[in-house]
Structures are given as structure tokens and as C-alpha cells.
């Protein structure tokens, strides 16, 4: 195994946060991230079922085409990380696997409400929220006066 592609839910703030965390961690295997159901992921893996049909789970594909869903996908992501490989092996043991499955399933199921409660907004949603705002804030005069105000504040 030489690399993993992680198909995550880009509409969920918690998942985007997890992606950031995974990106920042030191790794044994390179991780590539694709938004699940996006044109890029469909072009890359045309045989994968679309997210509307597939179960609501994290999907990971390794460089040999192996597919991982749900808790196993989480475990294989941890396996890619330098500091968490030991934990991935531990969680995959028969004693802890059921517990890991329950925990990861709970996280997957409640990711929307979790994002809301933690105040994590995904970029896509931020863009749609900011788009209808009046462009006057962005014109030159407004920007200048804004920088004056902020400059005065920090001076």
C-alpha cells in the first residue's frame, strides 16, 4: 500500500475539520482528499455508487483499488498517520473493533449536528452565505475606511 484517497463529505464542517487535521499530521502514507460525489471523485472512481445511493459513510480507496467503508475507513486513515498507526492496530483488534465501529458510526451519523454544535461551517456553505451579501463592502472606499477603523483600533 502506497497511498490512500479519502472521499469525505465536504458539506459537513466536522468532516472538513477532520480533513484539515489529517492533512496536518505527519504521515507514513500520502493521503489525497476528494469531496464525495464531486465531479472529480466521479471521474476518478466511476464505478463507486453516488453518495445518494451509498450508505452515509466515509469511503477510502487505496492505491491498489481496495475499498474501505465506515469504521474500517477511519482505521485505515489512522494507519496512514505516523503518530496513530499504533492506535489503528489497537482499534482493529477483535477486542476494540466493535467499540470503534460503534463510535465511528455514531460520529458519521451525528456529523451534521456535531458540526452545528461545534460551530464548524464548511467552506461551501460559507461561500453560499457570503455570495448574496452586498458588494459595497468590497469597494475601494469602504475598504479604505474599514482599514482606517481597524488601523485605529490596533494603533
Amino acid at each position: 500500500m502506497r497511498g490512500l484517497v479519502v472521499l469525505y463529505d465536504a458539506r459537513c464542517g466536522f468532516c472538513v475539520r477532520c480533513r484539515r487535521w489529517l492533512e496536518a499530521e505527519p504521515k507514513f502514507l500520502p493521503l489525497e482528499f476528494l469531496a464525495a460525489g464531486s465531479s472529480a471523485s466521479r471521474a476518478r472512481f466511476p464505478t463507486l455508487p453516488a453518495p445518494e445511493e451509498a450508505p452515509e459513510e466515509l469511503v477510502v480507496v487505496d492505491d491498489e483499488g481496495g475499498l474501505y467503508y465506515g469504521a474500517e475507513a477511519w482505521i485505515i486513515c489512522l494507519y496512514a498517520l505516523r503518530d496513530y498507526r499504533e492506535w489503528s492496530v489497537r482499534l482493529a483488534r477483535p477486542a476494540l473493533r466493535p467499540l470503534a465501529r460503534v463510535a465511528f458510526e455514531w460520529l458519521s451519523r451525528n456529523r451534521k449536528s456535531l458540526s452545528r454544535r461545534l460551530g464548524l461551517t464548511p467552506e461551501e456553505e460559507l461561500v453560499t452565505m457570503l455570495k448574496p451579501m452586498s458588494p459595497s463592502l468590497c469597494d475601494l472606499d469602504a475598504r479604505r475606511s474599514l482599514s482606517d477603523v481597524l488601523g485605529g483600533f490596533f494603533r
Binding site: F28, L48, G66, L67, Y68, Y79, R82, E86
Partner: protein, 133 residues
């Protein structure tokens, strides 16, 4: 109560300090010599790094043990004849040996942990794929 005799006290102190430091040096050298191979393995064959870490560990080992020996010097019953001098000496050296033993096992634990971490990169994936794309 018989008061402590200074000549026995000093004698037991000198013997205690000499024997304790010798024991510490012996354990540290053993650790240094035999721990190296563990560390070279843990650092993926990087002998220079292994030697450096090994040396640093031994320095820490010396500092802690000789520090303990020096601090423990004045505690315990004070001898007033040959018998109590031997007893005081033996009790204190016994404590030093126990501390050395504990430190030694702690070091072994650290070595084996480092080695395990070093070997992690060769561990096969813990879960098998459920399908193929």
C-alpha cells in the same frame, strides 16, 4: 540509646558512596553496551542517531542515580560499632540496587518502545478492504 560513633559513620558513608557509584557505573556501561543494538534497530539502522540517543540516555541515568545516592547519604540509622556500620551500609546499598533495578527496567521499557515505534512503518494494514473499485 548509644550515640553514633563518627569514625563508623564516616567509614560507612565512604564505603556506601564508593560502592554505589561503582554499581551505577557498571549498570550504565552494561546499558550502554547492550542497549545500542536495540536503538540501531529502532532508528532503522541509523547508527549515528542511535549512538547519540544512547549516550544521552546514559547521561540521564548517571545524573538520576548519582543524584539519588548523594541525596540518600545522610538518611538512615547512624552506626556506632562494626555491626551497625555493616547494617547501615547494606541497607543503603540495598536501596541503591533497587533504584538501579527500577531505572534499568524503565530504560528497557523505553528502548523497547522506541524499537516498536521504529518498526511501525513495516506493520501491514490492520484491516482488509471490503471491495474493489
Amino acid at each position: 540509646m548509644i550515640s553514633a560513633a563518627p569514625e563508623y559513620v564516616v567509614l560507612s558513608y565512604v564505603a556506601y558512596f564508593a560502592v554505589s557509584v561503582c554499581l551505577t557505573v557498571w549498570v550504565a556501561r552494561t546499558l550502554h553496551r547492550n542497549g545500542r543494538i536495540f536503538l540501531v534497530d529502532a532508528f532503522g539502522g541509523n547508527a549515528a542517531l542511535a549512538d547519540s540517543v544512547n549516550h544521552l540516555l546514559v547521561v540521564g541515568f548517571y545524573l538520576i542515580n548519582i543524584g539519588y545516592v548523594a541525596l540518600a547519604l545522610k538518611y538512615g540509622t547512624k552506626p556506632f560499632d562494626t555491626q551497625t556500620a555493616i547494617e547501615a551500609f547494606s541497607t543503603k546499598v540495598g536501596w541503591v540496587l533497587l533504584v538501579l533495578g527500577a531505572m534499568h527496567f524503565f530504560n528497557l521499557y523505553v528502548f523497547s518502545r522506541m524499537r516498536r515505534r521504529g518498526l511501525l512503518q513495516y506493520v501491514p494494514p490492520p484491516v482488509a478492504p471490503v471491495g474493489r473499485v
